[in-house]
Amino acid sequence: MAKKIFIQLAFILFLLTSCQTKSDKEFTVWIGGAPQEIDFWQKLIDDYNRQSGNNAILVRQPTYTDQRRQSLIISLEAKQPNPDLFLMDVVWIDQFAKSNWLEPLNKYIERDNYSTDNFFGRVINSVDKFEGNIYALPVFMDIGLLYYRKDLLKKYGFSAPPQTWKQLVDEAVLIQKKERERNKNFNGFVWQGAQYEGLICNFLEFITSHGGSVMNNGKIWSNTPANVEALKFMHDLLYKYKISPPNTFTEIKEEEVRRSFQNGNALFERNWTYAWNQHQSSGSSVKGKIGIAQLPHKEGFGSTSALGGWHVGMSEYSDVKNEAWDFIKFITSFKTQEKLLLNVGWNPGRKDVYHDSVLLNQIPRLKILYEVFNHSVSRPVIPYYAQVSEAMQRYVNNCLANKISPADALKELQKQINKVTAIYEEH
């Protein structure tokens, strides 16, 4: 009797759990984005499946970058055959490659004579390569830009966006003073200062455009005179020139900055490329009044912009690698990249799209973007980047909160980074 019931139960369990199946020739692709972007990806993938006879399945990645990374780490650490392909943020690739989770793409590239010259060499070399192998290819490139109010600059007699940080400060101080008479919420320059990853991108832009850097011979080096000067400048934006909102360090992220600029409450804005379409959408109070430019730099140095974006990689544990490679070729092709640019505004990872004369006519800002991409700087490429970034966020943010001086912040940060390095460097 007991036995019979147990057999019945086991049978029910088996029936219920055997609903899970997976057929071959089928592979899953993890892609994240806003709803209309995903809808467009679904269309692309439907087209691909019709052409190729493969069965690619789109799975949506979570909203937040951290959650995306975490769900990838879970599936890769569990050696799951799914997902076969996924988009990675530029700063994850090193950890993933070093954990042996990514399939090196070299043999496929050589086999098919696939040209990688069409991509930005600067980008491929700094983030997609690890120990001589290529592990990922750019699908969507993102970069920090200076958005400015054309109408206001013109109103106060400036013909072009600022080239140097000094010009930016001078213009912002003047215009903010005048504009505040009408609009007390007006700010000269808004950027991302909350304690999160975006702060590191801003920080990196400030220090590299002051001649500083974070990486030196493979070592992370924060405490240099140029870096201190840059951090002091960031601090000054809040407390000396007072052209950035006083709450910059508590809650200002991309969306806060975008909203403020879009509502007409800011003269200059540092943001990613996605803000352009939002600012130019109907209902935006700055529609048609804005321009984009490279971020300013200190006199005597060059402009730099932090590199962001999403690169496609293949799982080491994928069971349909040839089909997966075929899909990588598809999404990095000129045609697909062009479609992504035109339909959802994803900046192509390929150089040739930026040189296409028809596209240039249609989207003039491609020219500026191409310039900016050639001056991109990437965040440190190390497997324990997440831990280093956390320490950087804390000290840079504390300095912006006026809790610690710029020099002391970077001195303490260096100590903290040395500790992290000691834990996660192999020895």
């Binding site: 954990s99 909350a194 508590t250």
Partner: protein, 297 residues
């Protein structure tokens, strides 16, 4: 087949263990073994991209030296105290209301189960929308009632995020508190109230002289359950704030989880062990406290 039958029918001890076998095995495999495993892992370097290495207690040393860890401990304890006290307060009010014979009591009882039964992850999403900076319900109400003349960044500032988490958690768990307290209230004999009424007491006096003292043991149990549950808070924060802004609302569970999913299992395990010790200490404290109360009585 026959021997099995014999065991089932004759030998009491044997059949008792057979009956308990599924329970014992699942507890051993899915709780006991992982706990031991976590303890052991916490002594190792267990990082996805590095070879394993025995470290003795350096994961723990690192833990105690990390200000983020202490921030998460402080946050968690503050959250537990504030939210459990508020839940007790509202739970008591609701239980007193539901204990009365009022029209529509059945519907009220269903209503009170709604927050409890909806998955936290889902209600957290609803709350996220309610706290939304631009078009959230809360900012709308605050502006309309004139409580605030600008939009409040509920989830973007550390104090706002703390308040938001507490409100959502109180909403979610007050029903549990209510139901437990309601069960306690129903055991208090009505005669006591009738007698007190005849003696000419008002209802506040009746509450403090009869209800509260008799309800005390139940309150202690409810507090014990809620505290142990609150100290492991994870899902609400994961969805509502993700631990931000700037890590200010990272609970200990979330802190440990973040290390697991960034690929550092050794350190994550060390944090997990500390969470466990913390929960055990609080439980012991309550049990002591509860008995203490009984002895005095």
């Amino acid at each position: 087949m026959k021997s099995i039958k014999n065991i089932f029918s004759n030998n009491e001890t044997c059949s008792a263990y057979l009956f308990n076998l599924p329970t014992i095995i699942s507890a051993l495999v899915f709780i006991f073994l992982p706990v031991i495993g976590t303890l052991i892992t916490s002594l190792f370097r267990d990082v996805t991209y590095l070879p394993g290495k025995f470290l003795w207690f350096s994961n723990y040393e690192r833990l105690f030296a990390d200000p983020h860890f202490w921030q998460s401990v402080n946050f968690t304890l503050l959250f537990v105290i504030v939210s459990v006290v508020l839940e007790l307060f509202f739970g008591l009010i609701f239980a007193l209301v539901l204990n009365e014979a009022i029209p529509g009591r059945g519907f009220l009882r269903i209503a009170i189960l709604v927050p409890w039964a909806i998955p936290v992850a889902i209600s957290a999403r609803v709350w996220q929308l309610i706290y939304h900076f631009d078009y959230g319900l809360l900012n709308f109400i605050f502006m309309k009632l004139g409580i605030s003349n600008t939009h409040i960044n509920w989830l973007g500032s550390s104090s706002g995020a703390f308040i938001s988490i507490v409100i959502s958690d109180v909403w979610k768990t007050t029903p549990f508190m209510t139901i437990i307290l309601l069960a306690g209230l129903s055991t208090i004999p009505r005669v006591l109230y009738k007698q007190a009424e005849i003696d000419g007491t008002n209802f506040l006096q009746r509450f403090f002289r009869i209800t509260f003292p008799l309800l005390k043991p139940v309150i202690v149990v409810a507090l014990l359950f809620r505290t142990i549950d609150a100290i492991r808070i994870f899902d609400l924060i994961y969805v509502l704030t993700g631990g931000g802004p700037g890590g200010s609302t990272t609970s200990i569970s979330l802190y440990a989880y973040n290390y697991f999913v960034s690929g550092d299992f050794g350190y994550g395990s060390a944090v997990s062990v500390i969470v466990f010790i913390l929960a055990a200490m609080l439980a012991l404290l309550y049990i002591r406290f509860g008995r203490f109360g009984e002895v005095i009585k």
